[in-house]
Symmetry: C2
Subunit: 143 residues, 2 copies
DNA sequence: ATTAATGCAAACACTTTGCAATGGA
DNA sequence: TCCATTGCAAAGTGTTTGCATTAAT
């Protein structure tokens, strides 16, 4: 047991539950989603613990904190540089995998320390594109 | 007067002040920064008005709402697709202009409605790269 | 045994909203 | 005049923090 031994922090049941929930998770969950999902099996889990654990994982580079959703932070266990698209209607975040590519300007690589890099798209996913509800009212064209 | 006549909303002194503050502004200000900057000349300005005006401009496509700063929304009057880098130390957002380039995957263009697209980098700007304070403690490697 | 992590509640920061008063069109 | 906009205050949401209790190493 304990594939998570090398993270560099104490392995509590709460942290193991979070790690297991995130492992391979492609859903880009929010802290609250993670919290609610774990509550079923670990009824003493608290939201504060979720937040502090996510911060600890992020600090150790085991997790990506996504800012693409203007309403709340989303978390991604896939720490490789990759791209995202968010559907401004259903708020789903889709991985763009390796399909998109980019080239960093030379000057930037020299003068800055680049830590992460990703392409961020906003738009409508196929589902929401169809429905195309007359919700133009509250649409926010973010980014 | 009134280069802003075609926006499609009533031109109040508050809105004109916001539009003038944003015009050509490359600083990617937050709502509060805009508010404080205008307070000097328009002492009755309220933060709520800043927020509602920014939302109105965004809805009309006259403004980009940036999510790259995990702490607060930032606003960009430059509505052309372009890229940003945020310094995780000083929180400055730098335009990457046309230097970086990307290619959207075919499948995406077909099945999705892409509204915006930008490259988002995180890292350290030249200034902060030097100082490189032992602030590793609270660093958040966002995105 | 020691030190770090948990869980609760309170505090925080940013953003939105209800509503009466005001002022553009 | 009439309807949209303002400004204030209160409420809403997501996130962080202080602290006593608990548990991992």
């Amino acid at each position: 047991m304990h594939k998570y031994k090398d993270i560099g922090f104490a392995l509590t049941p709460q942290r193991i539950a979070i790690l297991e929930y995130l492992d391979g998770n492609k859903g880009h969950p929010s802290a609250d989603e993670i919290y609610k999902a774990i509550l079923g099996t670990l009824p003493t889990m608290s939201l504060a613990t979720v937040y502090t654990t996510l911060a600890a994982l992020n600090k150790r580079g085991k997790l990506r904190m996504l800012t693409i959703d203007p309403e709340k932070r989303r978390y991604d266990p896939d720490i490789a540089d990759h791209s995202h698209m968010i559907c401004i209607s259903c708020k789903r975040i889709i991985d763009l995998d390796g399909d998109a590519h980019y080239a960093l300007p030379e000057a930037l690589v020299k003068d800055f320390s680049v830590l992460t890099c990703s392409i961020e798209l906003t738009g409508l996913c196929p589902n929401c594109k169809q429905q195309e509800r007359a919700s133009t009212e509250e649409d926010q064209y973010v980014r």
